[in-house]
């Protein structure tokens, strides 16, 4: 075009406007998608189950016992050697709730028949890893479980147990 050869700059007025409109539209699309993502974002990722749960006095859980806390969605395990462990009841395969079966001494998931031993290790697949856990600490003789942070693990390790 003739104006392009006479002007010093290569960018014609029309090109400038086109570029500007294009850039502004791209910005608008980004803004709208960003806003929609924020609008729709998960509402309750943290502290979903109510945060700290006071499970009870250390002495009320005999070693080798497993107690269900349905509202906290966990089982409190007092391992035979005296350590505490809180496991999330959600099966690591596809999310069904496991139940404790005292007769078999294991956790069982009815959905695809996974089972887990008393410390949550996989006894029978398809579950790919041990049951998730929640942090446990012991304060003034009380067992306290922090249900706001889910910890994943591949296997059970002795350092996961908490002692009074």
């Amino acid at each position: 075009m003739s104006e392009q050869t006479t002007e010093k700059t290569k960018l014609s007025r029309r090109d400038f406007l086109k570029l500007g409109v294009g850039a502004l539209s791209a910005l608008a699309v980004l803004e709208v998608s960003g806003a929609s993502l924020l609008f729709l974002q998960p509402r309750s990722l943290d502290g979903e189950f109510g945060g700290q749960v006071i499970a009870g006095l250390v002495d009320s859980f005999p070693p080798g016992s497993v107690v269900e806390f349905p509202d906290g969605r966990f089982y409190l395990i007092h391992a035979p050697d005296g350590g505490f462990l809180a496991v999330y009841r959600r099966c690591t395969h596809l999310g069904c709730s496991v139940s404790w079966e005292p007769a078999q001494n294991h956790f069982f998931c009815p959905c695809h028949a996974s089972s887990f031993d008393i410390v949550g290790d996989v006894e029978n697949p398809p579950a790919p890893r041990a049951l998730d856990t929640f942090p446990v600490h012991i304060d003034a003789g009380q067992v306290i479980v922090d249900t706001s942070s889910i910890q994943t693990r591949d296997n059970f390790a002795p350092d996961q147990l908490v002692y009074a």
């Binding site: 998960p42 395969h93 069904c96 009815p110 398809p126």
Partner: protein, 446 residues
Amino acid sequence: MSENNQTWRQRIFYTTQTDDRSRMRAVANNLILHLHPTKVPAPALRWTYTWGLGGLSATLALLLIITGVILTFRYDASVERAYTSIQYLETQVAFGSLVRALHHWSANLLVVTAFLHLIRVFLTGGFKLGRSTNWIIGLVLLLIVVAFNFTGYLLPWDQLAYWAITVGTSLLSYVPLVGTAVANFLLGGPEVGQAALRNFYAIHVAVLPALLVMMMSYHFWKVRKDGGISQPPTEPGERVERLTTIPHLVQIEFAAAAVLILGLFVWAAFVPAPLEALADPSHPTNPAKAAWYFLGLQELLLHMHPLAALLLPGIILGAFVAIPYLDKQEDNIGRYFRSAVGKQIALLAALYAIGLIPLLVLLDEYWLDLPALLPGLPTLISNGLIPLALTLGGLAAVYLLFRTTNKANKSEALVGLFVFVMVSLLLLTLIGIFFRGPNMALVLPF
């Protein structure tokens, strides 16, 4: 007859026109009817060509929208009240049970008709001669129907709802990198709860209906743009009879829709939609099965690592999208199974699947334990990628078998592969429905 001297009756009921010209004009001038051409080739009207499956699917979609909108007036998308609002609908609301049953059974039937429609289109080569876009739109419509069902069956908040959605969305978390984030986003949190119910409700009654109506309109418009439905190529000099859309096509459509709607009403009046016990997040039912049309996929989960069980249907869907680009032979359009050879191969493929699939399921259930055979490997490989590779290898072998021993051309061998995959899916679904009992163990249904 000009527009002006039509009687009011002729204006409202376009189908009462009596001469061909005004009948054709009536089609062209009407918003709904103009989805049709003014004349159609006589062979395209044969019932045994289309089986009316597209029209039946459209009728069901319309019925679902009407009954769905009625349901929204009485349904309450909150965890505390969803289940009771359905119970109320079933027991207190006049015709509540009927409307819900109509919605439920139409949704189930739509899965069947949409799927059969896809099979019909594939078998008659309906994706050929410029129809590849519409084939892909059709696949999108099928996915929309599946999404409607998936989001819909969470709504009653019964045990099926809760556990099927829990398992279905947990699958997502096996997708590397983005899976967990996407699942959390869909559910509005880490577990199926109030946020998930609300999200699914919004998707079910607002997002999907808008998408459905858009895509259906696109689909119908494209049929016309592509020159009507697929037909065998004409011989040189051959003349195909063309009939006016009114009354020939419109009458068939009305009759089919009327029979379908009547049948559904009778069925729904006697068989109410099921409702299980209230969702109990601490106790899954045993067995915890999804709705019947997902049980083929669920069966895969029992044999493979979840990521592999997700990849396999993904790859097959990808292959479906690619079909118009894989089978480019155009002279066999409009003939079921392409040719006599194609027909024979389709039969063989069905027999192979019937022989092989139950055998493989039994083998994997009782004898084969890949993770135990390959103890050093992570289960993602031993129970995931290896069975996936074996399955895909098996499919390739089936295709090559047809190419070599049956001397099939590409187009015919693809028919064989397609039939093999479809019959396999059907068998897996039947196994999931009838042969899986407590703990998902194999049982006899009687």
